[in-house]
């Protein structure tokens, strides 16, 4: 319990320090801080009084650290500000798009988990065999290729050239279009995102499984004549789940911010495209909220993975005397 409390306190401190760093970095970017509010020509023609009034109205006349403390104070109470671009509450902006990003990333993760991990196990089953070498080459290629490039290729091939799948967007214009149409819209962005993840999971699962299969216990089992399939499951696959659990900790932040480029390419109305728009227009509250969300999810994922691994692997548990178990 004490360990958990300590872990949570560290996590909280990490989040606070990260928001301070992000706030300061974005606020100190060179350029006119009023740029998000007004047209270029209007900005140039503002009188000194109008400029001061606008800076006061948006709290820009105070030092950065004071602004950050005020922001943090309000954020703790659930108010994360208004978008400088649209003047709408940031929470509403995020809520309107969170579902789209979650849908895309969950679909991609599901694809990656269902294909990548079994592929890794299969490759590890006979290391050096034809399947392993083919799988290795394929995953290496997928891993090396930038995923946004893959996305553009897939988009051009399946949407522009063949016209089989929708070119952009999350939903068809026809409100009456059914579930099939939604899936069609999801296919290309999710696949683009998943291909890279498949390669990553497959290589990770292969490595972890292979480690188990080459361990002393596996060799002993083999010498005792235990069937190979059983060895694969008990000595390879099951132990590989522990390092894979740490990987799932990384999934959490990816659910919110792992698809920026793919969302932009496919005009997917999620948090990624919101982030790009906010960043380009110096919309500090939105940038801050999204990066903070990512930090929170990263820290939460890390804590969750830690707890998961501790639960799964008795060796990680700390005894009351402060020593690790056998």
């Amino acid at each position: 319990m004490a360990r958990l409390t300590g872990r949570l306190a560290t996590a909280l401190l990490t989040v606070v320090v990260a928001t301070c760093a992000i706030y300061t970095a974005v606020a100190l970017l060179p350029g006119d801080p009023l740029a998000p509010f007004l047209r270029q020509d209007t900005l140039a023609g503002l009188s000194t009084e109008q400029r001061s009034a606008l800076e006061r109205a948006h709290g820009l006349d105070r030092p950065v650290l004071v602004r950050w403390v005020r922001w943090l104070g309000r954020a703790v109470q659930g108010d994360i500000g208004r978008s400088l671009r649209t003047n709408r509450p940031v929470a509403d902006e995020i809520a309107a798009r969170f579902g789209a990003t979650l849908e895309l990333n969950l679909a991609a993760t599901l694809l990656a988990v269902l294909i990548g991990i079994p592929l890794g196990w299969w490759s590890a089953h006979r290391p050096g065999g034809l399947a392993d070498r083919l799988g290795g080459a394929l995953t290496l290629a997928l891993y090396a290729l930038p995923y946004f490039w893959l996305a553009l290729i897939l988009q051009h091939l399946f949407a522009v050239q063949l016209g089989w799948l929708p070119l952009y967007g999350r939903t068809p214009p026809d409100a009456a279009a059914g579930f099939g149409a939604r899936i069609a819209h999801l296919t290309l962005p999710a696949t683009s995102l998943a291909l890279h993840m498949i390669a990553f999971y497959a290589r990770f699962a292969r490595g972890a499984t292979l480690e188990g299969l080459q361990a002393l216990s596996a060799r002993l089992a083999r010498a005792l004549g235990v069937p190979e399939r059983r060895i694969l499951v008990r000595e390879g696959i099951v132990p590989s789940l522990v390092p894979l659990a740490t990987l799932f900790g990384l999934l959490l932040p990816a659910l919110a911010s792992g698809s920026v480029l793919v969302e932009t390419i496919f005009s997917w109305p999620g948090l990624g495209s919101l982030f790009v728009t906010a960043l380009l227009s110096r919309d500090l509250p939105v940038v801050l909220a999204l990066t903070t969300l990512t930090v929170v999810l990263t820290v939460a994922g890390s804590v969750a993975a830690d707890l998961l691994v501790t639960a799964a692997d008795p060796r990680r548990r700390v005894s009351p005397a402060g020593e690790t178990g056998p």
Binding site: P30, G31, D41
Partner: protein, 549 residues
């Protein structure tokens, strides 16, 4: 032929034959030739257009982005508007009249005008709109700037609005293109209520906006049943969507234009429409820079003479636009077409620089005057490779006449900040001009220290002419004054107007009566309200004409 073009061509042939058959059937039935907007009525489907991102707001009081402003103006209606040629035309006001030597403007409202909820649009709504626009707590500062010279706005009757100005101010009329907002409906953000030709129907954040035709619009319903704006975040993807038949109208960026301009299959399905908005792309030379580099008009003329602008358009960026003359724009009245742009003439440029005292050269071949080398930095927004290419081109040409220009690309907000605080030597930028030629902001001395007169141009004669033109309502008289100003600007050359850029849009040939002009293809009257779907017979006739010719 690439697979996509082949597919496009096959698709086009099938479409053509289908239309030809339909046309023949229509003719046999005696109904094939019914043209005109009302015949098609609002039949068919909504026209589909592309947007790069969600508009910031549909509230005309708080829409700082161009898209938001244009969309707000589709839903709303204003007292006056401009037509495709940028001439003021009535909308909510049936007519307007200047009185009291140009100090009073009287609008007579069209009594047929109705809000989308059925209530009448009254003079009280106009007064409410003005009060909101000048309230700094609600509206954006630019609206307060637009109405700065207004003293009072009064409703003398439900259909008569009287605007009193502190002093005669001729350019004021166009500020009444601001959409009128309803007094009885407070929610301008989630459920905007207008009285224009289009009704707000739906906004799926990040995906699309839908406007429906207003069948009760007092100037007649639009010819198509709606407008759907699809949010597609890249010009290339917008063009792909157009070719794939997902949208009907898409702007063409230079790359996209090069991609499709010689594509016959594309040309059969889409028309490429070119237009010039009142936009100038310029280099502002800071004449008040110290040590002085650009304080002599001969030097500034030499700079313009040294840059081969036409050569750039011919060899590097075909179709980008036309060589600029002064900050007055050929698409806006008052422009003096008899003034020719300074040609590319490096020898003459060199002679002018010599005459201005820049004869000596240092070891690097850079001109020197009184120990000061002719070296400076060009600040510009690094927003596109096009800007880099233009800056590099200018740099190479100035180098040939002994001027060393260092490039200083920066983020656009940095450029904004530094131009506002005058921390630059020369600035390459663009500016959207108004539809009235009044050049007060650009060239009046009062704007030199803080304002848009980035060149620091201070000439008392020009100030007096600008002020005089603002007080005169007669267009011919104002034109005569503006011609004098243009001649003076041409001689002084405080900025080199590199180009009058040209924009392009690809439009499905199924849309008829698509008109463009200085206001683009949306933001004028009737704009999209004048579009209609071509009948099958019309399409067939047009296709036959194209195939023949």
């Amino acid at each position: 032929m690439s697979p996509s073009r082949a597919r496009c061509a096959r698709h086009d042939r099938r479409r053509f034959l289908r239309r030809l058959g339909l046309a023949a059937a229509g003719t046999l039935l005696g109904s094939g030739c019914r043209p005109a907007r009302r015949a098609a009525g609002a039949a068919g489907r909504p026209a589909r257009l592309a947007l790069m991102s969600d508009p910031r707001s549909l509230d005309p009081m708080r829409a700082p982005d161009i898209d938001g402003w244009r969309l707000a103006r589709l839903i709303g209606d204003s007292l006056i508007d401009i037509d495709a040629g940028a001439t003021p035309v009535p909308r909510l006001a049936r007519r307007w009249q200047w009185r009291d030597e140009g100090r009073t403007l009287v609008f007579a409202l069209d009594e047929r005008a109705r809000w989308h909820d059925g209530q009448a649009v009254t003079a009280a709504d106009v007064v409410h709109t003005w009060r909101t626009a000048v309230d700094p707590e609600i509206a954006l500062p630019e609206l307060q700037q637009d109405f700065a010279s207004v003293d009072t706005v009064e409703a003398h009757s439900p259909t008569e609005v009287v605007v009193r100005y502190r002093e005669p101010f001729a350019p004021a009329l166009l500020s009444w293109r601001l959409p009128v907002i309803p007094r009885h409906h407070a929610d301008r953000v989630e459920q905007p209520l207008g009285c224009g030709p289009w009704r707000f129907a739906d906004w799926q954040t990040g995906e699309r906006l839908l406007f429906e035709a207003n069948p009760d619009y007092h100037l007649g319903p639009p010819g198509i049943p709606g407008l759907r704006f699809e949010i597609i975040r890249d010009y290339g993807a917008q063009l792909d969507a157009l070719i794939s038949g997902l949208i009907d109208v898409a702007p063409l960026a230079p790359d996209g234009f090069r991609r499709v301009r010689d594509d016959e299959a594309f040309a059969r399905r889409f028309e490429i429409v070119s237009y010039r908005m009142p936009y100038i792309f310029y280099i502002a030379w800071r004449s008040d820079r110290r040590p002085a580099l650009f304080d002599d008009a001969r030097v500034r003329r030499a700079l313009s003479l040294a840059i081969d602008r036409q050569g750039f358009l011919d060899r590097v960026a075909e179709g980008l636009g036309d060589v600029g003359v002064t900050s007055f724009h050929p698409e806006i009245w008052g422009f003096d077409a008899s003034i020719e742009p300074w040609p590319y003439d490096p020898e003459r440029a060199a002679r002018l620089l010599d005459a201005a005292g820049w004869q000596q050269r240092d070891r690097d071949g850079v001109r020197v005057r009184n120990g000061v080398p002719f070296r400076f930095r060009l600040l510009y927004a690094a927003t596109s490779t096009q800007n880099d290419r233009i800056a590099g081109f200018v740099q190479a040409h100035l180098r040939e006449v002994g001027i060393a220009m260092e490039l200083e690309p920066a983020d656009w907000s940095v450029v904004l900040d530094r131009s506002r605080t005058r921390r630059f030597d020369a600035l390459m930028s663009g500016r959207m001009l108004g539809y009235d030629p009044d050049p007060y902001e650009l060239w009046h001395s009062s704007q030199a220290a803080a304002g848009v007169n980035y060149c620091g141009y201070r000439v008392a004669d020009v100030d007096a002419l600008i002020e005089r033109a603002r007080r005169i309502h007669d267009r011919a008289e104002r034109t005569a004054i503006y011609r004098r100003i243009q001649r003076r600007l041409h001689e002084d050359e405080p900025m080199t107007v590199l180009f009058y850029p040209r924009s392009r849009v690809a439009v499905s040939r199924e849309i008829a009566d698509f008109v463009s002009g200085p206001a683009g293809y949306i933001d004028f009257w009737p704009g999209p309200a004048g579009w209609r779907w071509r009948s099958a017979a019309e399409s067939a006739r047009a296709a036959i004409a194209r195939w023949r010719g």
